[in-house]
Amino acid sequence: MTDDRTETAAGDGPATETAAVETPLAERIEAILLIIDEPIGLVALAAAVGAPVPAVRQTVASLVDDYDGRGAGPRRGFELREVGGGWRLYAREDHDDLIADFVGGQAPARLSQAALETLAVIAYKQPVTRSQVASIRAVNVDSVVRTLLARGLITELFADSETGAINYGTTDALLQHLGINSIDELPPISPLLDDGADGFDEGALR
């Protein structure tokens, strides 16, 4: 997954990477770190930013120092921590109470219509991958799936052996909300959906 174009555009050769935080390599690493959900290992991170592992290791180390206030700038409200063999940004632990208050002070969450519909699709189609849900819903469902995961309403069941796509299913928490004991107790919806689902979704039946 090395990205030659980026490498060229960035133009940071190994020679300059000792002053890593000032180079675009640090920026590229920060960009990746900002959007990942799970800790990322050095090798994967190096592949993502198209730089050698040693340079990435060094840059990550200098970012850790930088965020901790040992660099040119102030200490940050977040920190870069190595957890389970990977790196990820976390809110700095000093602010845990602040975050707990913030999170706890939010109004009791209600799921959006989009989230509820996505949940319904997963409940009836499980195990189902994100892209399958997206094609049924005809919209991108990434953030909604994240919400449902965070709410513990769905869970990752297994990865598809061929594609590696994660299959999702619903949890006992959903059953409790619905007041049923098993997913089999969901009311049946039209058999048309299962039998003709594909033709139906793409067909001109409207």
Partner: protein, 284 residues
């Protein structure tokens, strides 16, 4: 290139001298006795009162447009076609208003406010303004699609602090939501609803189908819809046939593709109560 029989109609072949100009304007062009140029320009002229709408042959424009469409495909065709429908409908209204100063389509009060034609011009301009600004929307949406915001799941330790989820759905509500979610989304089609087609009840049509079928040995679908002129009723009867088949209430045979569809009543036990829930999937 547009497979147009008449070279004067085919925009890009018409005048090679203009080729360079036309190359930058791939849109629909029209050649009429009193106008030759991009369709857009025609609209501009009309909207500036520099051309009289009553002088424009709408049927000629339409013929040309159909020939033009034949050379397009896919989404482009759909977009162009829908745009043309909008504009053609407006042209038609403008013509009506142009031909009938007190056009019957025009509300008397509205006429009092604004001359009907101005109103229609304004409508055309309004539509075009929204069409133009939609390009801005498209640009912004595409640009922003490429952006990546931080949207990371809360750490487990913080997640436990989040307030309980407010849940108010019963299991039946949830199933109804599932039906809604599985319903096909946007379908490329030309909307007909604005023609105010009367709503057709599948259940009523099913009741008719049941009555006909039970009273006879076998009936073809053609006979089942004989004399029906309303397409919605034909569709509803067909759907009710499918629904009854699902309930094993009838059998059908068709000897060859697209051949005659012969229907037979086949229900061992039939309760008219079944009719009450028939086609519930189509409710909403």
């Amino acid at each position: 290139m547009a497979p147009s029989p008449d070279p004067t109609v085919s925009p890009d072949d018409a005048s090679p001298a203009d080729a360079s100009v036309e190359a930058s304007d791939p849109g629909f062009r029209v050649s009429l006795s009193n106008f030759d140029g991009p369709f857009d320009l025609l609209l501009t002229l009309i909207s500036k009162h520099e051309m009289d709408i009553t002088e424009v042959s709408l049927s000629a424009v339409t013929n040309e447009f159909i020939a033009y469409l034949a050379a397009l495909d896919g989404d482009e065709e759909l977009d162009q076609a829908s745009e043309f429908l909008v504009v053609a409908a407006t042209l038609l209204d403008m013509k009506v208003a142009g031909l009938l100063p007190q056009g019957e389509l025009v509300d008397a009060e509205a006429v009092a406010l604004l001359e009907a034609r101005d109103l229609l011009f304004a409508r055309l301009l309004q539509y075009r303004a929204f069409k133009e600004v939609s390009a801005w929307f498209s640009r912004c949406l595409q640009r922003e699609d490429r952006r990546h915001a931080r949207a990371v799941r809360l750490d487990e330790k913080h997640r436990r602090k989040t307030p309980e989820l407010a849940w108010s759905l019963s299991v039946d509500d949830f199933a109804a939501l599932a039906l809604l979610a599985f319903a096909p989304k946007e379908m490329p089609h030309v909307g007909l609803d604005h023609l105010h087609a009367p709503l057709v009840s599948i259940r009523e049509q099913a009741a008719i189908v049941v009555t006909i079928l039970r009273g006879t040995e076998a009936v073809s679908f053609r006979e089942l819809v004989a004399g029906v002129t309303e397409p919605g009723i034909v569709v509803a009867r067909f759907i009710s046939v499918l629904e009854l088949y699902r309930h094993a209430a009838l059998s059908f045979e068709q000897l060859e593709p697209l051949g005659e569809l012969t229907l037979r009543w086949a229900a061992d036990s039939w309760s008219d109560e079944t009719l009450a829930t028939l086609g519930a999937d189509y409710d909403r």
